[in-house]
């Protein structure tokens, strides 16, 4: 008998179903409740996991093959970059501040996403969903590792990279990103999916990755460009997963809508605050700039985000609650951040600096309504202080927002001359916030946010306010990692080495 003639030909979709979904079964010896204990408490109703549409149909054989090809290329390039002192092709070592922030605050987030997706890759009861989440889990550890490997060579030559693992858990500004990921991981599986899979990967990732990787390309950082490009095809899968997941929740039961909307509101605002640091990178930290934060927001926020929420309107989803406040902050936030970073630069494991006259001319052109009026005068003042030998340093500790953990440096949405400050009292304790968005998030889940570890109070409670002891504790080397770029070791080294590479002296 000729077996081949009688075999059923499977289409791609059916073949994928057989190779994944059909692997699962209805348990008979243990209850589904016992096997999947966390899938109900958030209130999301799922009637039929089989209605899940696989966003990409990747079997393990293909996964290994494609990914190995990408890995070969990636490591070939970063090896060459290291061997050839590729760091000397940077426009300027100021650029590295952006990378230092990335390694200390964002790469640990990739790792957290890896753990979180492994957890939900086990906790969701549908095989299709599980496999998609597991693939993201293994991709995310890839991203954490490729980033560490790409930046490892910078660490050999420049300050500020060496203690990223200590900074992740202890320094004040990384708490912004880590509290974001801790928040997502301490949520249930569905909220985690909205937080990371949808808000971060789908709505906000373009605002992080596209400017970041373009900035790397513009500034001669081949190592970062390479991990960015190499991660891009993974990100495309992750974005598809995030979108599929939100549609699945909304299609399964109308009762899911208000829960999902609440999460979208929350995680948009959380994400917007984390990405605030990107605004500073784009407007201030790139020696050769790609576009302004305002321009990036127009493309990736207003246009792409707008299209997305128009698409989701058929499910009853409206744009996130904080959208208008975000829009009002766009022309201010990078300046407010950079002024904050400069005055607290004694406590950052990266450098900041006073923008040059050329930089300020660019900022005026990009922010015609705000820069000259509100921020140029402050920089001018700071510049004068520096020239007089009394540089502006704020050794006072910032008041941190209980929710997003950023210093409360932002202004009222309608009034750039007035610092925005909110507070609320819960169980007799007073809590401070940077915005209505953050206050709302707290008030919705106060028992969660009162647990937040706030690095500034910890400095007092654990180290008695001793700044030198604090620097030891966070592995910050005073006079090397921190402070003004102007006069730093990084500046001196870069100029000296580049001189060696480009002249005959």
């Amino acid at each position: 008998m000729d077996m081949k003639a009688t075999k059923k030909k499977l289409g791609m979709k059916e073949r994928y179903r057989v190779l994944t979904r059909d692997l699962g079964w209805e348990p008979g010896y243990q209850s589904k409740e016992a096997i999947f204990p966390y899938v109900r408490y958030e209130g999301i109703k799922v009637h039929d996991w089989d209605k899940w549409e696989d966003p990409f149909r990747l079997t393990m054989d293909a996964y290994w093959k494609y990914q190995a090809e990408k890995e070969r290329k990636f490591y070939a390039i970063i090896d060459a970059h290291a061997q050839n002192n590729g760091h000397l092709n940077l426009t300027d070592a100021r650029y590295l501040s952006a990378l230092k922030i990335f390694l200390q605050a964002i790469s640990p987030g990739e790792y957290a996403a890896h753990k979180g997706f492994a957890r939900i890759g086990r906790e969701f009861p549908g095989v299709g969903t599980q496999v998609a989440c597991q693939m993201q889990a293994i991709d995310e550890i890839r991203h954490a590792q490729t980033q560490i490997h790409a930046m490892s060579n910078y660490n050999r030559y420049y300050d500020g990279f060496h203690a990223f693992a200590d900074a992740r858990d202890r320094i004040w500004y990384t708490s912004v990103a880590r509290s974001f990921f801790d928040d997502a991981m301490s949520a249930g599986p569905f909220e985690f999916m909205i937080a990371i899979g949808f808000s971060f990967e789908y709505v906000l990732t373009n605002l992080l990755f596209v400017p970041f990787m373009s900035g790397a390309a513009y500034n001669g950082d081949m190592a970062t460009v390479t991990f960015g490009f190499s991660a891009q095809s993974d990100e495309a899968r992750h974005m598809t997963l995030g979108l599929e997941c939100i549609k699945f929740m909304l299609e399964q039961d109308p009762d899911n809508l208000p829960i999902v909307q609440g999460w979208i509101d929350k995680w948009f605002w959380r994400g917007f605050r984390v990405l605030g640091l990107v605004s500073t990178m784009m407007d201030y930290m790139l020696p050769k700039r790609v576009m302004s934060w305002r321009e990036a927001w127009e493309i990736y926020g207003v246009e792409n985000g707008g299209a997305l929420f128009r698409d989701l309107a058929r499910y009853g989803i409206r744009p996130p609650k904080g959208w208008d406040d975000a829009e009002k902050a766009i022309d201010h936030m990078s300046h407010q951040f950079m002024l904050g970073l400069y005055q607290w630069s004694f406590g950052t494991a990266f450098h900041s600096w006073i923008p040059s006259d050329d930089d300020m001319a660019w900022l005026s052109a990009k922010y015609p309504d705000t820069f000259d009026r509100h921020y140029r005068p402050r920089w001018a003042h700071i510049k004068q202080l520096k020239a007089a030998g009394t540089p502006f340093k704020n050794y006072g500790l910032a008041r941190l927002c209980q929710c997003c953990q950023l210093p409360c440096v932002f202004t009222e949405p309608g009034d750039p001359t007035l610092t925005c400050h909110r507070e609320t009292v819960y169980k007799g304790e007073k809590y401070q916030f940077c915005s209505d968005g953050c206050k709302d998030i707290f008030e919705h889940e106060p028992e969660k946010y009162i647990q937040a570890w706030l690095p500034m109070p910890a400095l007092f409670s654990e180290l008695g306010g001793d700044v030198a002891a604090w620097m030891d504790w966070v592995s910050l080397r005073d006079g090397a990692d921190n402070g003004d770029y102007d006069g730093s070791r990084d500046q001196r080294h870069f100029d000296e080495w580049r001189g060696l590479a480009t002249s005959n002296l």
């Binding site: 996964y63 597991q134 590792q145 490997h149 030559y157 599986p189």
Partner: protein, 330 residues
């Protein structure tokens, strides 16, 4: 003359990241070290999980195994994502070539019908067991503590999925989609498979990550893989004329030889840590090994019939000898 100044007199300022210098001394670190050590957040975690407020977000206390340093459980293969993926991609090339070889020469069609039936009866339901292993390793990765221990579990979980998919393809090559349906029916209702299915489902409610590691990767797979792939497929069935099938399961046999070294290294390091750990491990090993052996006897009987007891007994002895080398006796 072009002077290559770029290689001249640029002095590195340091050899490695601080946390690696503290662990391994002031010297350049390997990529495995960079990608594995201390990359999980360790302190000042912000919130307790809403899904279980008794736990911390990363909690070493949810297992009975106690380690001063969870990074002592290192992977002797030194797999990080890149080395893992490159290794599997190479194996996948071989597997693909093997499938193509069997297909192009019609070797599957030449199997005697009763032999083909035996292969399908044994191997196809195992794709569900492999899916169970995927679930369990994903769990250990998700809830275990310390990247050195958990990272290989993610790779292992994806391997389990790959194996489930190879078994599915094997089923379709030797039979048809109907063969997969029949295999699933046997897994769900066939008496021979119920003890094993119960074992797998019982594992899915174990929420001590280390116990689950022992139950799945040591106790169950430590018997299942040598019995099914070495004893039965490479031995019995090849002798009866089904060496084509051994080509299709070459990955599983090689994979088991590779991964057991990692499993043993983890067990050995955990047992060496303390008498407490060793006692816990001995208890788990005794419990799950007994259950695994009992669950596998009817599966092995499907092909070996009356010889099943002897085959399982021999494998238990071999497994005990293997595990004794990790200083765990049971």
């Amino acid at each position: 003359m072009q002077i290559d100044l770029r290689t001249v007199s640029i002095q590195p300022q340091r050899n490695a990241f601080d946390h690696l210098v503290r662990r391994f001394g002031d010297k350049p670190a390997s990529r495995y070290q960079e990608g594995s050590y201390d990359i999980q957040a360790a302190e000042n975690l912000h919130y307790r999980p809403t899904w279980d407020p008794d736990q911390q977000l990363y909690d070493a206390g949810i297992t009975r195994i106690v380690m001063r340093d969870w990074y002592a459980l290192k992977d002797p293969r030194q797999f990080y994502y890149s080395t893992y993926t490159l290794t599997r991609a190479r194996q996948q090339d071989t597997t693909e070539a093997n499938f193509a070889f069997v297909e192009s020469r019609g070797l599957a069609d030449r199997l005697a019908p009763e032999l083909r039936e035996a292969v399908l009866r044994l191997l196809v339901p195992l794709r569900h067991a492999a899916w169970g292993a995927n679930q369990n390793n994903t769990f250990v990765c998700g809830y275990g503590f310390g990247t050195a221990f958990t990272q290989p579990c993610m790779y292992h979980a994806m391997d389990n999925l790959g194996i489930a998919q190879y078994l599915s393809r094997l089923g379709m090559m030797l039979g048809d989609v109907d063969a997969l349906d029949a295999g699933k029916a046997a897994w769900l209702d066939g008496p021979a498979w119920q003890p094993l299915r119960r074992y797998v489902e019982d594992c899915m409610v174990v929420r001590d990550p280390f116990e689950l590691f022992v139950a799945q990767n040591a106790a169950l797979d430590g018997l299942l893989y040598p019995l099914v792939y070495a004893r039965i497929v490479d031995g019995e069935l090849s002798a009866r004329g089904a060496s084509a099938v051994a080509m299709l399961t070459q990955f599983m046999a090689e994979w088991f030889d590779e991964t057991r070294k990692w499993v043993d290294a983890v067990l050995k390091a955990a047992a060496a840590e303390s008498d407490h750990n060793r006692e816990v491990l001995q208890g788990w090993m005794a419990h799950w090994n007994d259950r695994a052996a009992a669950a596998l006897v009817p599966v092995v009987e499907l092909v070996l019939g009356a010889d099943a007891d002897e085959a399982v007994a021999a494998q238990i002895a071999a497994f005990k000898a293997r595990i004794h080398k990790t200083e765990i006796s049971f």
